[in-house]
């Protein structure tokens, strides 16, 4: 499943509020990626966008991780596909 080419992938930072997305890939390395993985944000996981003002941080949620606020810099590095 991983590595498949998908047409509608985009960074989390540009997804509109209320959408549910599936994480495809997290760009970058080291501590940050590990931290995201630790709170349950790994490829294949679905999250809902609770709040996204467009150029600030993004608030996301799912049952496993709860509600998290991701800084804009982080949200840009999370590549997702929109599920609904």
């Amino acid at each position: 499943m991983r590595g498949d080419k998908l047409d509608n992938v985009l960074p989390l930072s540009v997804v509109k509020e209320g959408k549910t997305v599936r994480i495809v890939k997290i760009i970058g390395g080291g501590g940050l990626v590990r931290r995201l993985y630790e709170i349950g944000l790994l490829p294949g996981v679905e999250v809902m966008i609770v709040r996204n003002s467009g150029f600030g941080p993004v608030i996301i949620r799912n049952n496993v991780s709860g509600t998290f606020c991701l800084g804009f810099g982080v949200a840009k590095k999370i590549i997702v596909e929109v599920v609904s």
Partner: protein, 691 residues
């Protein structure tokens, strides 16, 4: 006192030392509340992530067994990514707790279980407190506690720490666990990884056994595969360089074989395992009127780019009004009672004059200073605690993210800065939750310019003397000036040292909760108490020291008359020291008495006002009148500016040294003195031209 021996005697024979218990958990799960309830103790608590920045220790004695509870910082995993995680892990590795209590949030159990798995892999005896059980039920989360308990072979106790529910059972369980062995726990990471783990385990097994280390070799092997820098460093320090490089070799081979990051695969396997647990034991229904819906709705307003900022500014106004206007009438009562009744009473009942002067001019002046500012501080603390308890503070971080990004910081850095308005010491300490060293240093540089509560007395006094009409505005202008300088500092240092990097962060958003009045009052009282302990003792001590330095001089004992006679006072130690500094402050036109009190302020800002009172030989109550005779309003404003911007106190300097090292601290102290002097001078000269 007496009925314990028979019960505890046989199983816990000859336990001399207290049994060490670590309390660990994700941020914002109620660890600190649980810790406080168990120890009836001190750690302070808040509904935003990252309150516990250092481990706090408390004692608990039960049936004659004494326990030492250690409250650890909130962490998500044991990867040493932030300072917090390093502290927690250092304790687990070196502190050797006999039992670890993991406090979990029942609403998002899965995320908490990730830490559980890591703790079990480390080989700890674990007791899980399934906290916020009531909220979870309301949210429609149903957990099969028995099933989970059997699967993890670990006791799980549902608790509601704020309501004391389940705490007795938790304590009973801890006692039962003392003599049981740690459960056997193992996750199957799949054939390839397991093979690598086994290879490394065999490498380290015998050296570790030889050294008698109580570390699970399998866990160590997994950490090496995960490329854990802290562990690698520890092994190197123990002289296992060859094992480290061998393990790295095995890891590289595995990586090539799998064509995928080994760390990622290991974390994925853990999540696979716990999602499987979750499928079996956690049921979720969509609740009709859930807390989540309410929280989302409120967030739509409170984090709205325009309305949200308006609400934030308005709340700040209300907070300041509450802590200054409302408290002022109480301050008045204390002022009047103190100066009229107690002063005279003591003065007339003590002999000889030497003793009476020591008490009235030294001790009582100190006590008066402390008491007069209690109402302001109490109201400020009540306000801040309320905002923390509702969960609003995390939204402040969200709102300020964009702004803070301009300074190269993340919204999270706003929280330490806001704490700085209360006290700089915990503010500097709370920067540990920030991800990078760069961000921590930048915020540590900014914090001292946040006007802390100890600086408020100076502003109150001087505004009372010179700006009685516009007191609130002038004080607010001080706060804004501080923020302004802090912003400039961040921009300057970010450009100078870090070339405008931007921070990335991940922060837990707690749901909005109704604040509990008991919790707020308890927390505010705790903060007031720590102010009294920390500042109170220093103020009292310094008041007496100043008194001694005023009644003695290079020629010997002068006598209490010195306090009433400026002529005599000018022969004291205080005078000679300040005169020595006088040329330096010539451009600011300061009296040696002001220089003297500001030098004492280097030790603690709290003593500036009381030492002024001693040096001008009046009670704090009548100090405004005396000062308004010897300074112009402009000079007073310039003095306030200096007091705002120079080094906050010895305690802050000491904390800074711990957090960012001696070199940066010295740089900062010099920088602050320079800025303070320049700003005070500019205000005096530019203001002089304008007026």
């Amino acid at each position: 006192m007496s009925c314990h021996e028979s019960r505890a005697g046989s199983t816990l024979k000859a336990r001399q030392k207290a049994i060490k218990i670590g309390i660990i958990g994700n941020p914002n799960v109620g660890k600190s509340v649980l810790f406080n309830k168990l120890t009836k103790g001190k750690a302070w608590v808040g509904n935003w992530p990252g309150v516990t920045v250092e481990k706090k220790v408390g004692k608990l004695t039960l049936d004659g067994i004494s326990f030492e509870l250690v409250d650890l910082p909130g962490i998500y995993g044991l990867t040493a990514y932030s300072q917090d995680e390093l502290i927690a892990r250092k304790f687990l590795l070196e502190g050797k707790p006999e039992i670890v209590i993991q406090v979990t949030n029942a609403i998002n159990l899965e995320r908490n279980l990730y830490l559980t798995i890591q703790l079990l892999e480390m080989g700890f005896k674990l007791v899980i407190a399934l906290n916020m059980a009531d909220l979870a039920e309301k949210e429609g989360v149903k957990i099969d506690v028995d099933g989970l308990r059997r699967e993890l072979r670990t006791p799980i106790i549902p608790t509601i720490a704020v309501k004391n529910f389940g705490l007795n059972q938790l304590i009973e369980t801890i006692k039962e666990q003392l003599d049981k062995p740690a459960p056997f726990f193992k996750i199957d990471y799949g054939p390839e990884i397991e093979e690598a783990i086994e290879k490394i385990r065999r490498l380290i097994d015998s050296p570790i056994r030889r050294l008698g280390l109580k570390i699970d070799p399998r866990w160590l092997a997994i950490r090496l595969l995960e490329d854990d820098n802290d562990i690698i460093q520890r092994l190197r320090d123990m002289g296992f360089e060859d094992i480290v490089s061998e393990a790295r070799h095995i890891r590289d081979e595995l990586q090539a074989q799998l064509n995928e990051s080994v760390e990622v695969l290991i974390i994925e396997k853990r999540y696979e395992y716990l999602l499987n647990l979750s499928r079996k034991y956690v049921r979720r229904k969509t609740a009709e009127k859930s807390l989540t819906d309410l929280t989302d709705g409120l967030d739509k307003v409170l984090t709205h780019p325009i309305l949200g900022l308006m609400v934030f500014a308005s709340i700040l106004y209300l907070l300041f009004k509450f802590s200054f206007d409302v408290a002022s009438s109480l301050t008045e009562v204390i002022r009047v009672t103190f100066s009229q009744h107690i002063h005279d009473l003591v003065k007339n009942s003590l002999h000889p004059e030497f003793i009476s002067s020591l008490f009235v001019d030294g001790v009582l002046n100190g006590v008066g200073t402390i008491l007069i500012f209690i109402p302001n501080l109490l109201f400020l603390f009540i306000g801040i605690s309320t905002l923390e308890d509702t969960g609003y503070m995390a939204r402040v971080a969200f709102l300020s993210d964009r702004l803070m990004n301009r300074l190269g910081l993340s919204g999270r850095a706003m929280i330490p800065l806001l704490i700085g308005f209360g006290c700089n010491v915990p503010a500097v300490m709370s920067t540990r939750v920030l991800g990078s060293d760069r961000e921590r240093r930048l915020s540590v540089f900014m914090i001292p310019f946040m006007s802390c509560s100890a600086r408020l007395p100076i502003f109150l006094l001087l505004t009372l003397a010179f700006f009685r009409e516009n007191q609130l505005i002038v004080i607010l202008s001080m706060y804004f000036l501080g923020v302004f300088i802090a912003v400039l500092t961040a921009l300057l240092f970010n450009n100078l040292f870090y070339r405008k990097q931007v921070a990335g962060y991940v922060m837990d958003m707690p749901p909005y909760l109704n604040p509990s009045i008991r919790n707020i009052l308890a927390k505010s009282w705790e903060r007031i108490r720590s102010f009294l302990m920390k500042a109170g003792t220093i103020i009292l001590l310094m008041s007496v020291v100043i008194w001694v330095l005023s009644v003695t001089g290079p020629e010997g004992y002068i006598g209490p008359e010195a306090l009433r006679d400026v002529e005599l006072l000018s022969r004291s130690w205080i005078a000679s020291f300040s005169r020595f500094l006088e040329p330096l402050f010539k451009p600011l036109n300061w009296d040696w008495r002001i220089i003297a009190s500001l030098s004492f302020g280097f030790i603690a800002k709290e003593v500036v006002v009381s030492s002024l009172a001693v040096l001008y030989n009046v009670g704090v109550e009548s100090l405004p009148t005396v000062l308004s005779d010897s300074l112009t309003p402009l000079a007073a404003y310039s003095l306030m500016t200096f007091a705002l911007l120079y080094t906050p106190c010895m305690a802050t300097v000491a904390t800074m040294r711990n957090e960012v090292g001696l070199r940066y601290t010295l740089l900062m102290v010099l920088y602050q003195l320079l800025i303070a002097y320049t700003a005070a001078y500019l205000i005096l000269s530019i203001g002089g031209m304008v007026i």
